[in-house]
Homo-oligomer: 203 residues x 2
């Protein structure tokens, strides 16, 4: 791992750390809501289950393992205020919007969060984020041949520091324990498998 890169990462983490956190007593509207369902099963049993909604939607997300033409992987350093470190390293990702499919969402997020466009995008895997209480179905994409075409364009309350490292460095940062979220961990496993498969095809 290049020492200056690790220093850069630590500096980004430092800047985004939470120094003060206050619970708000009065809330007008919330992003997280839920619905309760009575479900009758084929075996005759009746059970109640509660479904999490994010902004009134299911909250399915696209996660992008993006490789640039120069061989860098695009990573995000973001405030994750409820984690122990309050900051986390991860991949470009975001909720799929209405009238979008997962691929369209992935392309939009890559452009908004990093200003990049991909030559090719391949679906690596799909999974339920929290299958007991949510319908959120996330999709991991591998984006190759990515090139910068615009500047970062974030939502008002969003903060993302782009962090670019080589493929080997991503796997090293993973071994060092920098990726702590389920989405990121699965993205790394699936990208690794994909790269291995692709290499063995070329041979």
């Amino acid at each position: 791992m290049r020492r200056e890169k690790l220093e850069e990462l630590k500096k980004q983490f430092e800047e985004l750390k939470v120094v003060e956190m206050q619970k708000q007593r009065y809330r007008e509207k919330t992003f997280l809501t839920s619905e309760l369902y009575e479900c009758r099963l084929k075996c005759g049993r009746v059970i109640f289950r509660e479904k999490l909604l994010k902004g009134k939607k299911e909250g399915s997300a696209a996660i992008i393992f993006a490789l640039t033409k120069q061989g860098d992987v695009l990573l995000n350093v973001e405030p994750r205020v409820f984690t122990k470190e309050t900051v986390a390293l991860g991949f470009p990702a975001g909720y799929i919007e209405d009238k979008e499919d997962a691929l369209m969402g992935a392309k939009r997020e890559l452009l908004e969060e990093h200003g990049y466009e991909a030559e090719e995008m391949v679906l690596l895997d799909s999974f339920y984020q929290d299958e007991g209480c949510s319908a959120a179905y996330n999709q991991i994409f591998f984006a190759s041949g990515c090139q910068r075409v615009a500047s970062q364009k974030l939502d008002k309350d969003e903060i993302i520091y782009p962090f670019l490292v080589s493929l080997e460095e991503v796997f090293e940062l993973n071994r060092l324990g920098y990726f702590k979220g389920a989405n990121s961990k699965l993205a790394i496993v699936k990208a690794k498998e994909y790269i291995k498969r692709r290499k063995s095809c070329v041979k």
Copy 2:
């Protein structure tokens, strides 16, 4: 894969399928709630983030990849009413309770859901379930030498059909796409790595 095992699994899935689902209009209290926080970062920015709570707690869970003395892996077939199939295959798992650490929670869940006790339990990995909006930090355990010591003892609204297959069959079911949740997918990856490491140590 033994044909009778796959038939058994399909029968279990069939029985637990949702045949009717009704949204409840009136709700007294909910399991899923949230809190809003105002967070000041070291860089000076102030952001708002909402935190998901499950039963007023963070919702951290223990997931157990459990191998019996006979060489079977203990799996759960459960209603997952918000997934496409409405039923899912997974591992023994559950929320860690107050005054419990993750290991204690894992032992309790293994006993409640399957009536089994393990000779040894090893922590394989930890991860945030949904780091953007939750503090839930899940832990995956590998339980070996499991033996049946009691009967299943579930909560009122819980339904779990135990499903036992060999180690090879677990990986085959994974290739067939039977595991669809983030927790289950990560448990399989980490268990596979652990088994490989253990084998190479023995050699």
